[in-house]
Symmetry: C2
Subunit: 284 residues, 2 copies
């Protein structure tokens, strides 16, 4: 029976390290600061924001929210982002997406200062993730998966990792991060033929497909580690992942739950990236 | 016995299409132009340059070479590149790499204008390849592989593609391009365990490992398509690929030779990218 590996111990360990780092920075007169840029006020953005603000405050990171009206124009949005870019007191910026229709993501992503772009919105950071350039910022979710694997001492080098999903916020950067850790990486997606067979070759299976409980034990090799990145609502209105945990758990060696898995690590990763940005900006 | 699929017919077909496109552009008063930037004069750069100039001339693309001395300073190099960026008559720029030690690739890659960067040196193009943004330019070699697959009507969607090698000029962008064509993609490398087994799951095996004739029939599934990206010198001083072609050919359905395979398509891809850049810059 696979061990359920929760996110909280990982988040706590990261936060503890960061708290010390921030203390040391404050001794030098430096306080890391995040600005969250939010358009409108939808529930999932607000929920993420609450978590991020709480985490930052616990660690000693300053955080501010720039809320813009739902009908903000592209020009106004760009101006606000440029002001934040130029504000030397701000080390990290996270922009909530998706945007309302009047805002062009393909323009805005080139505006955000890459060195403050703590969630990999800028193409410069996308390229850095692919190039294994450690001055870059990967998106928080795949970074959280890497931290979970590290925390639970799950070997990655030379292992077969299969990722289901090829989005720019999880699948593709996840593939690059696992490749950077020397896994042999396979990317599956909606056009993959015989997915259960391919997935059941995986030592590490990362699922980011966005469909409630789709992955059952047929997809899982005996002894595999399964990481569930999905966040969905099941037929009873409860939060669930992309993995049918009860069915898979007996075959796995370790499996992350939903909720209380990957999702509970992302705000610590955000904090980690802000501290990293702050140190890089101060040549520390 | 697998069919030997040569590069020349692919290059010829691309060139033919481009020649017509360039004729049409010239009617509009537009002549696509490439500038090659070369530092020093090493043999392999000069060989590539001759091929590129010949191909461009045949198609009707103007081409110039900016030769800089082996000891050019970073400042001078950056100045020259900026001049080319600003020169509206130049549509495409290719910079020979690797650079001599005094030039910092990590600085220069941010200087080249992404819209003229026809061989994916700029991080903006790296990101566009990953994002499947069609206004970007993938590196010429993996693009050549895609054109070969297309020319010989090799199905890619839903097929298992395995790439050996994870460089920024072949392996990683190759993975993204095959993923964009809906293949299920696996990336192998020096730390991969049991590579023959993994490779022999591939319908399409792309080899870019840089070791003469390393890949033999143990790596090949019956009926697979094998694409050899390697260029090495064998023990008799002859050019050879990364694949032991004689050993593999009987098991394959199709296999590219070296020489006369992928390498003979890259200059046509370069030309294709110049024409694309020219059209994008002229809003055509």
């Amino acid at each position: 029976m696979g061990q359920i590996i929760k996110g909280k111990p990982v988040a706590d360990a990261i936060s503890q390290t960061l708290t010390k780092e921030v203390e040391n920075l404050k001794v030098k007169g430096i306080t890391p600061k995040l600005t969250l840029v939010r358009v409108g006020a939808n529930g999932s953005d607000l929920a993420y924001e609450r978590g991020a603000l709480k985490r930052c405050s616990k660690i000693g990171i300053e955080a501010a929210v720039k809320e813009l009206p739902e009908d903000v124009t592209q020009d106004r949005f760009v101006d606000e982002l440029k002001k934040i870019n130029e504000d030397k007191s701000v080390n990290g910026v996270m922009v909530f997406r998706p945007f309302p229709g009047q805002l062009d993501e393909n323009v805005i992503k080139y505006i955000i200062a890459p060195e403050k772009d703590v969630d990999c919105f800028s193409p410069v950071n996308v390229a850095k993730v692919m190039e294994k350039d450690k001055t870059g910022f990967a998106p928080c979710t795949p970074s959280a998966v890497i931290e979970i694997l590290k925390h639970y001492k799950i070997p990655v080098q030379g292992k077969r990792a299969v990722i289901i999903g090829r989005s720019m916020i999880v699948g593709k950067p996840m593939a690059m991060l696992l490749l950077n850790k020397n896994a042999t990486v396979t990317i599956c997606h909606s056009k993959t033929v015989d997915m259960p067979k391919i997935c059941s070759e995986a030592d590490i299976l990362v699922v980011a497909i966005g469909r409630a409980k789709m992955i059952d034990s047929k997809y899982v090799k005996d002894g595999a580690v399964v990481v569930d990145v999905g966040i969905n609502i099941d037929e009873n209105g409860r939060i669930c992942g992309d993995v049918n945990t009860e069915d898979c758990q007996p075959k796995t060696s370790m499996i992350t739950p939903v909720p209380a898995g990957v999702g509970s690590v992302t705000s610590s990763i955000l904090a980690q990236h802000i501290v990293k940005a702050c140190k890089l900006q101060n040549n520390l």
